[in-house]
């Protein structure tokens, strides 16, 4: 009797005869167990002896799904397929002094998908923290109070490190008696722990208040 095991499911194979005929029932169980897309709940791991290289797992409660990739030593890493994640936060008490940068986060959590205030908010800075390496879409809105001079500038501030590039900022003239609205949009691959804040600048001649909101969406996981 020469026994080998299949690569993924570990099914026993006797290449020289029928010596493993009595193991067929357990093999059918194993085939059944591995069929389709495996499911679990967030925070509940499926045992490694149930997983196999290439198995797809989906969380019932979040919609997050991944492909299992063998690490070669009996464990598995997650290669995300779908990761629904979206956050909107806002800040209604902004004040930018004349000619000075105001770097601020967003103190109010409005809505989220697979995200809570505590899971995304960077303490003190109120930035929006992302969960996994992925391509993200960011929309940063600002509404300035009306004032009849100067320009208005809004740009993303990545991990409190300043403006990313000049062409990711939005410059615009003023409205006088009515607010000036600006939208800054960009997409970028971010790593776990990176966070988004806003940078606001104006030179109307005095301090100028602003409201701002930020909407961050995970577009596609990146391996």
């Amino acid at each position: 009797m020469t026994i080998t095991n299949t690569a993924k499911l570990g099914l026993p194979v006797d290449t020289l005869g029928e010596g493993l005929i009595t193991t067929q029932p357990s093999s059918w169980d194993r085939v059944d167990q591995a069929a389709g897309i495996l499911s679990t709940l967030s925070g509940v791991d499926i045992p490694n002896n149930v997983l196999y290289d290439g198995a797809i797992v989906a969380e019932k409660d979040t919609g997050i799904s991944w492909r299992c990739k063998s690490d070669g030593s009996g464990g598995f890493t997650k290669q995300y397929i779908n990761y629904p994640w979206w956050v909107c936060k806002y800040y209604s008490n902004g004040l930018a002094n004349n000619g000075a940068n105001a770097n601020t986060g967003f103190d109010v959590f409005y809505q989220g998908v697979n995200a809570t205030d505590s899971s995304v908010t960077v303490p003190t800075l109120n930035g929006i923290k992302v969960p996994i390496k992925a391509l993200y879409s960011v929309c940063l809105y600002v509404r300035w109070a009306g004032a009849a001079a100067g320009v208005r500038l809004v740009s993303p501030n990545l991990s409190n490190g300043g403006v990313l590039t000049d062409w990711e900022q939005v410059d615009q003239g003023y409205n006088t008696s009515t607010p000036t609205g600006q939208v800054c949009k960009f997409q970028r691959v971010l790593n776990p722990g990176d966070f988004i804040m806003g940078k606001y600048w104006q030179n109307s001649g005095g301090g100028l208040s602003y409201y701002t909101s930020c909407w961050v969406t995970l577009i596609r996981p990146v391996p």
Partner: protein, 221 residues
Amino acid sequence: MSKVLTPKLKLTKESDDETIDPFAPNWPILDKYAGGLLVANGTVPPDSDLYDGCLVSELTSGKQWIARLNTGGTYDHIWLVYPWFAEVGTPSLSVASVPFTNTAYGFTNLWNGVNTDAATALVGTFLVVPIDAIYELVYSVRGSNPNSNDAPLSAHISVNSDQNYLWSETLEKYNLNYTVNCTQLLRKLKAGDKLCLNIWQSYGAPMAVSMVLQASVVCPL
């Protein structure tokens, strides 16, 4: 030896006499489910053909879903992929000059669509979204020739007639010829949510406006 079946695929583990007997009934089952089930668009297989975790793909729509066994013994559809796009617009409408007071404006046309048509995308003049998902919304509003100082044109998405725009509106100052607002928003919507645009302008007289909204599913929920 009695006949025993596996829980998901109903594979025969043991039959009445010899262990080898399960091959004949089991191969067709494995063949049937290899790569998941393929069905015609909009077709739902009978429960007897599904199992918990079964992947179902529609033939040409690109939609894929997971059959998830619920506590009632039937199956929920968990969308994995749902290609959907709608471009709706209104070529001509008149917006009164009422500063800071939103008025809702709907859409009269479906100009482009993926896995939708005018009859299902538009309910009245609202764009209605099909599933719970994160959507990307891109909208553009064009006002004609206000030629007046400090006369902004404001637009923002309204969901189920709300006014909670959270400062996501565009607010463009006048141009001599046309004032064009265009922006993008990604947000969570529920199946059946109704979208329109809220617009106001302060030119001092009615303004001719055209508008378009493009909506697409980014990620099913």
